[in-house]
């Protein structure tokens, strides 16, 4: 179980280095608009590029689902703008000296959407529910045998105190609870599920309550009048969370051009995840405000090192030498992304001079390598899909670039499920893949490094890389880790198990009437504290 072990260790180490991520994000958000100065607008319309998959936090989910549900439910703690953990339903907490016992003090003023006050009973009920396998909580594994820790017991000494005991120290415990993909471990009122445990609808404590979900049309949230906000400005998923509109409607508009046109027409107020191809269409418009925030995702070209042809590092290097990452990123993202050949994202504090090195295009060298390898111009399949237009564009550009050195790439466009299926079993020669944000370089490298026999989706299967990855888990010292990451980066560039291309930015464009909208490094919509002029 090398793979599973890796993950577990990685997560453990994250706890150690969690503090390193301070000061990570570029800018703190401006203070939220004071609720009293702005008349509340009746309806704010934002765009989702695909429908949410459920209203059940942290179970059936994707990024859109997480983002929408975090307006409705809240956990004990939540992520701050800078990635650290801050208070949410728990106003404060303490950790025992051995790091195993967490005591949370709940904020007494909080009420559920159904009017019931928040007490420790609901918190314990919610956590127990998440820990049941049949709930299919996304983060159940983290508390399983291979995870960071097991929860030994939960108790409620009084209605506003919750005590959670772990089987070992787990500095990553709170970070995990705050994770968006875990649904922020949102605390729910038991009335959210039926008597048989089946899901009904989320009754949470957030600034909005679920209004109407019309599949593939919209998700409407209504302002929760009795929301008890934390004091202070908006800060990530915590801080002051004021619902400044009566109704919040997420319109599901899959087509990016249609969304842009709708925004220009005024049928939509906010696009917080604009496709770069739409940038030209909004350029020079004074009635729109544009914003770009770098995020921690990563677009890369995966190479199947088990392929008879591609197991030859000369061929892999030759392919890499044809790719002009700067030009590619610029063309595909209209200059909004940062070209990067290292698995460590540009926005990461571990991205330094070694990581910042970009491979320069060298066609004569590429041809020379190909000749040496005996490549005879035979077709190499490049798998991509159209779900994300950028993945498709990357393939087209790479194909054209590789052709300059006489490399014959054939693009195989498959749909998203087929793409995932082929990724999971490693059934490809070359594949364009995008990875969602990994918070730590260990995780970033972890998406590439692993034992192909255990996990066929891993691309970089060398003993040395696996050992180096282990080393990054065994030390908390940033300098020591940086050294290992630098070595890994050099090896990665040398051995070319994949070619990292760029890290993108989250682009938002809002109508000028919209006040207070600010994306942050978490790839999720956030519409509290936003109002209309």
């Amino acid at each position: 179980m090398a793979g599973g072990g890796n993950l577990a260790r990685a997560l453990k180490t994250l706890a150690v280095c969690g503090v390193l991520m301070l000061g990570f994000a570029s800018a703190r958000a401006p203070a939220a608009v004071d609720e009293t100065t702005v008349a509340r607008a009746p309806l704010l319309r934002a765009r989702l590029n695909s429908d949410i998959v459920s209203t059940n936090p942290g179970t059936r989910r994707d990024e859109n689902t997480d983002g929408v549900l975090l307006h409705i439910v809240e956990g004990l703690v939540a992520s701050r703008e800078d990635g650290s953990v801050g208070p949410m339903l728990a106003g404060r907490w303490s950790v025992s000296a051995d790091g195993r016992v967490y005591t949370f003090a709940l904020r007494p003023e909080v009420v559920f959407h159904n009017g019931a006050p928040l007490t420790s009973a609901e918190v314990i009920w919610s956590l127990r529910r998440y820990l049941k396998p049949e709930t299919r909580w996304r983060c159940l594994e983290v508390f399983g045998p291979n995870g960071i820790a097991r929860i030994v017991s939960m108790s409620a000494p009084d209605p506003h105190t919750v005590v959670i005991t772990l089987d070992r120290a787990a500095p990553m415990f709170l970070t995990t609870l705050a994770r968006a993909d875990c649904g922020g471990t949102g605390i729910l009122h038991p009335a959210s599920v039926g008597s048989d445990g089946s899901w009904i609808a989320p009754i949470g404590t957030g600034p909005f309550r679920l209004g109407e979900w019309r599949h593939n049309e919209f998700v409407q949230l209504n302002r929760f009048a009795h929301y008890a906000s934390l004091p202070g400005p908006r800060d990530g998923n915590t801080g002051g969370k004021h619902a400044l509109v009566d109704q919040l409607r997420f319109l599901i508009i899959p087509d990016s051009s249609a969304a842009r046109a709708a925004l220009v027409r005024g049928s939509l107020d906010i696009i917080d995840n604009l496709a770069p191809s739409e940038l030209l269409g909004i350029r020079g418009r004074t009635d729109l405000q544009f914003q770009s925030v770098p995020i921690l995702d990563c677009y890369s070209l995966l190479i199947q090192t088990r392929d008879p042809l591609l197991q030859d590092v000369r061929v892999r290097t030759a392919i890499a030498l044809t790719i002009d990452a700067v030009g590619l990123a610029k063309a595909i993202t209209r200059g909004t992304a940062s070209a990067n050949n290292s698995p460590i994202p540009v926005a990461s504090p571990f991205h330094h001079s070694v990581e910042a090195q970009l491979r320069s295009v060298n066609l004569p060298k590429a041809r020379q390598l190909l000749q040496a390898s005996g490549y005879d111009g035979r077709a190499i399949q490049l798998v991509t899909s159209r779900r994300d237009p950028q993945m498709f564009d990357v393939a087209v550009v790479i194909q054209a670039m590789a052709a300059q050195a006489g490399i014959n790439l054939q693009i195989d466009t498959v749909d998203w499920p087929a793409h995932l299926s082929r990724y999971t079993v490693g059934n490809y020669q070359l594949m364009v893949q995008s990875f969602s944000a990994r918070l730590d370089p260990t995780l970033s490298f972890g998406t590439f490094i692993g034992d192909k026999r255990q996990e066929p989706r891993k691309v970089w299967d060398t003993l040395r890389s696996r050992e180096l990855l282990d080393q990054t888990l065994q030390t908390a010292d940033p300098a020591a880790r940086q050294a290992v990451f630098d070595t890994l980066t050099r090896d990665f560039l040398e051995e070319v198990p994949a070619v990292v291309l760029y890290n993108s930015s989250r682009l938002s464009v809002v109508r000028s009437e919209v006040v207070g909208h600010q994306n942050w490094m978490s790839a999720q919509p956030r519409l509290w504290g936003v109002s209309l002029r």
Binding site: E217, A418, S421
Partner: protein
């Protein structure tokens, strides 16, 4: 009559069964499954296997088919894997919109085609005829989505006369919903009127050469009476068949139009379900459209004797 209808419906059962089996096999041949889609790129093998078991996808195919078919026979098409909604409701919701657009558009297209085709045939080789034939031919040559996009750009964006996106259901605001449907209906009407006009013109030309038209003229009837009473009903019968075929196909979803105008119709539902491998929805949709196709054809056959009494529904 009723017996005839029952017989026709019974005769389609083998077709429907074939459709069901074919659908079931084809969609399971497509690589990728709903568990992968639901869990996304970072999922580990254990959770994927667990979800597959939850969804019943780990059972042998014949077992899955029989179980689905049994439920389908009882009218239960299962629940969507993605949204958890009952498939029957999901289909009816989306079908309502598609049917509204298609029925209005095909009716308009038929009216336009009947009038234009008849007049063009009547004034054969005149400037009017040339204009009608030319327009119909050009319309045939324009891809519907391109037309839709151009109309959207023109009326939605440049002129701003019509709403652009964010369909409002009829239940919410009928007036707004109608506004949203103007462009899709117009696009579909234009696209479909080309073939129908040509068909109507051709059959009108044939009918105009027949003796009973001369006979009607020899009785002293005005041209208007000759055209409306004698030419139209007879020339319309073949066009009606084509209208039926068109309806049968379009009611199965106008995925392209729905994509252009971001309408939550049946076509979009099917395409999205295929892309999400939402097996119960795909199966339900295809079975449903097969039934629609069969029923529409039956209705057209039942209507046919109105225009051509020689054909009797047996």
């Amino acid at each position: 009559m009723l017996g005839y209808i029952c017989k026709r419906l019974l005769l389609t059962l083998p077709t429907l069964l074939l459709v069901s089996v074919a659908v079931f096999l084809i969609i399971r041949l497509i690589p990728g499954d709903p568990a992968l889609v639901l869990l996304g790129e970072g999922a580990d093998a254990a959770s994927i296997a667990g979800l597959r078991a939850d969804l019943g996808l780990d059972r042998p195919l014949p077992v899955q088919f029989v179980s689905w078919f049994e439920h389908a026979l009882k009218g239960d098409l299962g629940r969507s894997i993605v949204s958890g909604e009952p498939v029957g409701e999901l289909i009816l919701q989306h079908f309502g919109l598609t049917a509204a657009v298609v029925l209005v558009a095909v009716t308009l297209a038929t009216l336009i085609a009947a009038a234009a085709g008849l007049i063009a045939a009547w004034r054969r080789n005149s400037v009017i005829d040339l204009a009608v034939v030319g327009a119909a031919t050009v319309v045939l040559a324009v891809p519907s989505f391109w037309l839709g996009l151009v109309l959207l750009l023109l009326f939605g964006l440049k002129l701003g006369w019509l709403p652009f996106v964010g369909y409002v259901p009829f239940s919410e605001s009928a007036a707004q919903a109608a506004l949203f449907l103007v462009l899709p209906v117009v696009t579909l009407t234009i696209t479909e009127s080309g073939v129908l006009t040509r068909m109507m013109r051709a059959s009108s030309i044939d009918v105009l050469q027949l003796d009973y038209v001369t006979h009607a003229r020899a009785k002293g009837l005005s041209e208007r009476a000759v055209l409306t009473r004698h030419v139209f009903p007879n020339a319309f019968a073949p066009t009606l068949t084509l209208v039926g075929l068109t309806l049968g196909h379009l009611l199965g979803g106008i995925a392209v139009i729905e994509t252009v105008f971001t309408l939550p119709g049946l076509g979009r539902l099917m395409v999205d379900s295929v892309l999400a491998r939402d097996y119960p929805v795909i199966q339900g949709c295809l079975l449903f459209t097969a039934v629609v196709y069969v029923v529409v054809n039956l209705l057209v056959d039942l209507c046919y004797p109105i225009f051509d009494p020689r054909v009797t529904a047996r």
